[in-house]
């Protein structure tokens, strides 16, 4: 935690020798929030251990640690390393990535209703991926590349509408609705043209689900999510300033055009990867950053880590609930996040979304 305080506040101990009461009060409140962040991280770890241990095949906690050291009995080892761990880690990375993607979109476009799924970016990725499955077979590289192409197409349209044409936040969301239904229809058209086997693959794949993750996909996703987190932390002050208005941001030295394009491409890449590997998992990118704002306000120094942890925690918990409590282990997590996210979206609309 001290290292974290050093990074975001420029100080390790929570106080300076030559500053006064106001700085101390500020650093103290940072410290309190970092404690909360540590608690949330702890909670995520607990849920992760629980999720690895529980299920159709019960595993004692001690056995998990032995399996990680390569020293468990064969069945438990296979279940942990090949089935449960990939699923848990994929849920964490996917929630983390989608949440950061949503946070970047909300901050860069100054649109509190923005997220990969409400702007049609995930649906664009899904269309690209479905096209790749039908045209090229389900080869991972082409699916990811096409998903990114679809996500970028949606992102470019949204950027043009909100940047150049200066549409209001609501109008951009309406454009997202139009884009989503266009991409969904195009995906259905592709399904119509597909063979039976391809159709089964596309349909199964469209449900957002973290169960089908290979270690290679996890590695790729981890790399992208970590790079995105570093980039966002690097521009955290630019994002803070942008919240005070575009002109104020320029007046404070922010190259608004550059971070907007770079950040949106990054958000599109993360949602494209998440969608290519796991299907459309809606609303995580909306829910998690808004919960983070409830905890820490609009300061991106804290919003970025909080959104990351909350995204991971929410998706992992939703997946674990779907797998263990609701049932057979096959309920796709996308269904659960939609049930959580749609009411939240409506609530934000009604409340005037701040």
């Amino acid at each position: 935690m001290n290292i974290f305080l050093k990074i975001i506040a420029g100080n390790r101990d929570g106080k300076f020798a030559r500053t006064g009461a106001i700085t101390s009060a500020y650093l103290e409140s940072l410290n309190r929030k970092l404690l909360l962040l540590a608690l949330l991280l702890g909670a995520t770890l607990l849920v992760a251990v629980f999720a690895v241990a529980r299920g159709a095949y019960e595993i004692p906690i001690g056995c998990i640690f032995r399996a990680l050291l390569g020293d468990a009995d064969a069945t438990a080892g296979v279940v942990i390393v090949n089935i449960r761990m990939p699923r848990v880690i994929a849920a964490i990375l996917c929630g983390w990535g989608l949440s950061l993607s949503g946070l970047s979109i909300q901050s860069l476009l100054k649109n509190p209703l923005g997220s990969p799924s409400t702007l049609g970016i995930s649906q664009g990725a899904a269309f690209g991926a479905a096209a790749a499955i039908v045209v090229f077979g389900a080869e991972m590289f082409s699916v990811t590349a096409f998903a990114f192409g679809g996500a970028m197409a949606a992102t470019a349209i949204i950027l043009i509408l909100s940047g150049l044409k200066r549409l209001s936040a609501e109008a951009v969301i309406l454009a997202g609705v139009a884009l989503s239904s266009l991409f969904v229809s195009a995906t259905i058209l592709i399904q119509y043209l597909a063979t039976e086997t391809q159709l089964a693959m596309v349909v199964f794949w469209t449900f957002g689900d973290v169960a089908r993750s290979s270690w290679r996909e996890i590695g790729l996703m981890a790399g992208a999510v970590i790079l995105a987190s570093l980039y966002l932390m690097f521009i955290r002050w630019d994002l803070n300033v942008l919240a005070s208005g575009e002109e104020a941001a320029k007046g404070l030295g922010v190259n608004v055009g550059r971070i907007r394009v770079a950040g949106m491409v990054m958000a599109a890449l993360i949602s494209a990867m998440a969608t290519a590997f796991h299907g459309v998992i809606a609303f995580i990118g909306l829910i998690a950053p808004h919960m983070a704002r409830r905890f820490v306000g609009d300061d991106h120094c804290l919003l970025i880590p909080f959104s990351s942890v909350l995204g991971a925690l929410i998706l992992l918990t939703a997946d674990t609930i779907g797998r263990i409590i609701i049932g057979s282990g096959a309920l796709p997590v996308g269904v659960i996040t939609s049930f959580l996210g749609a009411p939240m979206f409506l609530y934000l609309l009604v409340r005037g979304y701040r």
């Binding site: 420029g10 404070l252 030295g253 190259n255």
Partner: protein, 250 residues
């Protein structure tokens, strides 16, 4: 000469807004930009710190041309107070810290905190430091945004209609504060403003904009009713009242 603006041209979508703007400003002076609604006062301010990019011309601060610098380098030389401040949930302290943005490399340093704390004390908003900006009154918000601009450690302050949403007491307080800052900290300020009486009371020089051009440049003592009549299209008298010059429409 601290600020020298030469031959600035600017147009929105081939519709000219400013043409051939030239003026200069000394250290320790306040210049008010005056003119009717839509005369291009705000646009001129935004051209000075490159929020808008002029088509032609130069803006020199201590001999360096701002129009050739990065946005960040401009922000270290010019503090900007925009006309409106959107509602955010940042605290006052966080809002003022943002003024350090052009100087931050990776994280804040002890000097950044000290400077911000010092500015907050000097502007008399220490009691508000931990409150969210959105809870404050118009006058208080304006002081916070001026504090943020000061945290940029600029040579020049640009203020866009700093008094437009304030009551009379707060108008005088905010402009008095700007006067005090300019006098005590070796700065200059360019202020776009509607209120002629406030302008005459606090500024050293005036630039009158009319039909995209500079109609007249004047110091306080050279100001004539004729200039005001030509720019605003109304008859006025300049009267002395208890040591203050006031503009009276007649």
């Amino acid at each position: 000469m601290m600020l020298t603006v030469t031959n600035i041209d600017f147009s929105y979508n081939s519709h000219p807004v400013l043409s051939d703007i030239t003026f200069s400003l000394e250290k320790g002076e306040i210049m008010c930009v005056l003119g009717m609604n839509g005369a291009g006062k705000s646009t001129l301010l935004k051209c000075l710190n490159r929020i808008l990019k002029p088509w032609r011309g130069s803006v020199l601060v201590d001999g360096e041309n701002l129009l050739l610098m990065s946005q960040n380098s401009v922000a270290r030389r010019m503090g900007y107070v925009p006309q409106r401040h959107p509602e955010t949930r940042h605290s006052v302290f966080e809002a003022v810290l943002m003024g350090r943005k052009p100087h931050i490399r990776w994280s804040l340093t002890e000097d950044d905190y000290r400077l911000v704390e010092d500015i907050i004390m000097r502007l008399g908003i220490a009691h508000l430091a931990m409150r969210p900006v959105s809870d404050l009154s118009g006058g208080e918000i304006q002081k916070v945004i001026i504090a943020r601009a000061l945290a940029q450690s600029p040579a020049i302050l640009l203020l866009d209609e700093p008094t437009s949403n304030l009551d009379l007491k707060n108008q005088l307080e905010v402009m008095g504060l700007i006067r005090h800052i300019v006098d005590t900290q070796d700065l200059s300020a360019v202020v776009a403003i509607h209120d002629l009486n406030i302008a005459i009371r606090f500024a050293d020089r005036f630039v009158f904009l009319k039909e995209q051009r500079i109609h007249a440049v004047s110091t306080r003592k050279d100001l004539t009713p004729e200039m005001i009549r030509q720019v605003y299209d109304i008859e006025v008298a300049l009267e002395e009242c208890r040591g203050h010059t006031v503009v009276v429409p007649v």
